[in-house]
């Protein structure tokens, strides 16, 4: 029996879903770690990026940050947090994943706010808007598509890397892959891989759809739009 048909047999067995350490439990843990990490990252990155983008400074620092973050393996940071005193609590993977979710949110939000037409900001100021009103009512709507792109990139990345936390003993969907390798059962390995990949793709689609729904202005085909914006953002991040 090939690994792929064995994987479907595994996924078809309700026991594998509902048992104490089954797929539902692991998916719940996976989403809990990923969700907390995203929340933490957004709390840190969004205010900082809005402030820097509104003031239009710190671009070099953010560029360096996103370049350096690419060079640091997520697995290494996960392991380092796992051997600190907070290791073995859920906070070790949460903080490690948040560290990697910050750069994309920071960079995209920063660019979104910085690229707002300065004439518009001037006009808003001339109309008597306070700085706070300028940020919320003039800049935010225009920057929103890029903000969403950043959040989407980060969310997909966090959902994907939460898998790695299984290598450090945190139960996530990656635990199934790991157990499969441990039992030399490639059916279980592939079943785990299918679940992990599906979760990442669903995260991408859900965050993309939510972003499309909250974005102001004309609504066109959601995914074509987001993709071009993401390509632009990637171009910005990689321009040296």
């Amino acid at each position: 029996m090939s690994a792929f048909s064995a994987a479907f047999v595994y996924l078809n067995d309700p026991y594998n879903w509902t048992s104490a350490r089954g797929i539902f439990f692991l998916a719940g843990q996976h989403l809990r770690i990923a969700g907390l990490a995203m929340l933490l990252a957004l709390l840190v990155a969004l205010p900082l990026a809005v402030w820097l983008g509104h003031a239009r400074r710190g671009g070099g620092f953010l560029l360096a940050l996103s370049n350096v973050s690419r060079a640091v393996p997520t697995l290494a940071i996960l392991t380092i947090f796992a051997v600190t005193p907070i290791g073995f609590s859920i906070w070790a993977p949460v903080i490690a994943l948040a560290v990697f979710a910050v750069p994309p949110v920071l960079a995209n939000t920063y660019v979104g706010f910085r690229e707002v037409d300065q004439d518009l900001v001037e006009a808003a100021r001339a109309m008597g808007m306070s700085e706070r009103q300028i940020v919320v009512r003039a800049e935010l709507p225009l920057a929103l598509p890029l903000v969403v792109t950043g959040i989407r990139t980060a969310a997909v990345q966090v959902a994907a890397t939460a898998t790695l936390a299984s290598l450090l003993g945190n139960p996530t969907l990656g635990t199934i892959i790991r157990a499969g390798f441990g039992q030399q059962d490639y059916g279980v390995v592939v079943a785990g891989a299918l679940l992990v990949a599906a979760l990442a793709l669903v995260t991408d689609v859900v965050v993309g759809t939510v972003g499309w729904a909250v974005a102001p202005g004309q609504k066109r085909v959601p995914f074509a739009r987001v993709r071009t914006r993401r390509a632009e953002a990637a171009g910005v991040a990689s321009a040296r």
């Binding site: 690419r70 060079a71 393996p73 790695l164 490639y186 993709r227």
Partner: protein, 231 residues
Amino acid sequence: MLSGALLAADSAPNPWFDFSWVGDNWSTIMPLVGQHVRLTVISVLIGAVIAFPLALLARRAKGLAAAVLGLSTFVYTIPSLAMFAFIAPFTGLSETTVAIGLVLYSLVVLVRNFLAGLQAVPEEVREAARGMGYGAGRMLLRVELPLALPAIMTGLRIATVSTVALVTVGVIVGQGGLGQVIIVNGFGANYYRPPIVFGTLGCVLLALVADQVLAVVERVLTPWTRQGAAT
């Protein structure tokens, strides 16, 4: 079980930095560093060899470009651990498993950058070359490639740096280069910190060195970009 593990980690000396550990375990570490470098170089090279014709094809037809970019976005969304898990049933617990996964990821970055570089060649330049009697092959080699080189090199640098980081996940099939040091010699050996810190710093250092090497290669290959900016 967990509290017992915590106690064991806290009672034994467990410093963050211990350079004598590196010296004592040199013969274990070096083959793994070698594997890390080998996997990175092979994956990016094969990725580049596949990406270039793909980018050329995608440039010809708009529909094909959309398909290639869409597929590559899809590939990039698949988590690395799942990717290796999909490949392992075919190639087992081998370096090949890791290399195939890494080729796919580097391919995504490379095709995008190669395509962007080729598409950025100004139409007038192509027109001029055609007017001077350049055929398609000679134009590609003498006109388009040199102009696309900065974008190509940027792609290679990004792909190399992210591949260095991704090799560590190969630990799931026992072929993770410095990831083995981090997980097996460090985390798996009673949460011993020196290997973890060494593996992490080693990865970052490898990535930075590779990035700088490629930056130098780019400077050597594009002498014309320096003439204006030199003074």
